[in-house]
């Protein structure tokens, strides 16, 4: 399995707010940044990144062994933290 591919088979069902779309549906040099703001995740939508996720299972297992801690695994089609 090589580095990266698509993420999150089940899309991210959000209840948080996101940016308003531009008034014009036409993509123009004047509104392209508004479209980017609309498409990119809002601050609320990005909060999952505030958790100290490791991005590989076995190093996390080794770390948990050393720390005597349990593991919380988020397993998805496509690694949410990118590296697979």
């Amino acid at each position: 399995m090589n580095i990266f591919r698509t993420l999150f088979i089940c899309s991210l069902a959000m209840t948080s707010s996101f940016a308003a779309p531009p008034k014009s549906t036409e993509l123009t040099a004047n509104n392209y940044r508004e479209w980017i703001e609309y498409i990119r995740p809002s601050g609320d939508e990005s909060k999952w990144q505030e958790i100290a996720w490791r991005n590989k299972m076995m190093p996390a297992v080794e770390e948990a062994k050393k720390l005597d801690r349990p593991i919380l695994l988020w397993a998805m089609n496509g690694n949410p933290c990118g590296e697979t």
Partner: protein, 304 residues
């Protein structure tokens, strides 16, 4: 996932070593992967040790079914808790509390000596590493755009409430080919244009979809030119259009945006590019069933 934004979840998460992972390399389902990973310790731990202890309602025994979800375990694979995909904050909280309760019992039984979990940010470290290795490491987001006269898709989803993310990698040579030599429009080489289009312009708002094949590129153009210069470098303007189509789905539209080339770093350091257009149809796992009619879709390409 909004579940991870929940403050109660974030607080409890500090008790665990939290990790993400590609589920198919923990529980391979196709023959090649099964053989390739037959001695893999992560597969053994997740599938053979943890999975065998999981209650049936949280672990479909069918080996062909995905095992996406959230799971809690001891480092030796001892089952603590788990939920199949589709988890909500209250379900994850329940899972975490259940897991911590069992773990605390095991701390006593096994005479463990728990230490604080370092709150490192693997995602940020990974992004930094990739941006140093690559020419461009592009964060791609995909979202349905507003539809006329309705806030619901034809398959009942609220338009704009769902998005997906993927990463696109350009080598240093590929990234360099996006840097124009002057202020006149010039074509981006076809291989780089097609890589951006076939890998980036995918309708994966609700699921997965394979990349477009080169023959699916019906028409495509992508041009760049130098714009203004500022203290940070030279603005690069980018514009183009695309029509991608195979026998089950289509996406066509325009792409527009700007990048910043830093002469000091000799590379593109910022990218804000967006594609908008209409998609139709669907693929096996992109969950467009019932929403095949043409509807607007947007894709952003971002580097910062």
């Amino acid at each position: 996932m909004v579940v991870w934004s929940d403050q109660r979840v974030q607080k409890l998460a500090k008790e665990f070593v939290c990790t993400t992972e590609e589920v198919d390399i923990l529980f391979p389902r196709n023959e090649w992967l099964i053989n390739h990973l037959k001695d893999d310790p992560a597969v053994h731990l997740f599938r053979d040790v943890f999975g065998k202890q999981s209650p049936r309602q949280h672990w479909d025994p069918n080996p062909q079914k995905t095992k996406q979800g959230v799971y809690a375990m001891m480092p030796d694979g001892t089952y603590l808790s788990g939920r199949f995909v589709g988890t909500r904050a209250d379900q994850v909280l329940e899972l975490m509390n259940e897991a911590l309760q069992k773990w605390k019992r095991l701390v006593r039984e096994r005479n463990l000596d728990p230490k604080a979990v370092p709150q490192t940010a693997a995602l940020l470290e990974w992004k930094k590493k990739k941006s140093e290795e690559l020419g461009l490491h592009i964060e791609v987001h995909i979202r349905d755009l507003p539809r006329k006269g309705t806030q619901k898709t034809s398959h009942g989803k609220e338009v704009g409430r769902h998005y997906n993310t993927k990463w696109l990698e350009l080598t240093k040579a590929e990234a360099q080919s996006l840097v124009p030599t002057g202020s006149s429009w010039q074509d981006v080489p076809n291989n780089v244009r097609d890589k951006l289009f076939t890998n980036g312009l995918k309708d994966i708002v609700y699921g997965q979809s394979p990349g477009w094949k080169s023959q699916d590129v019906r028409t495509a153009s992508l041009k760049v030119r130098q714009g203004k210069k500022n203290r940070s470098g030279t603005i690069i303007e980018l514009a183009g259009d695309f029509d991608l189509k195979d026998n089950s789905h289509q996406y066509s539209g325009k792409i527009l945006g700007k990048m910043l080339y830093s002469p000091k770093e000799k590379r593109i350091t910022h990218m804000e590019v967006v594609a908008t257009g209409f998609r139709s149809g669907g693929t096996t796992f992109n969950f467009r069933n019932g929403d095949e009619a043409p509807a607007p879709l947007g894709v952003s390409f971002y580097v910062k």
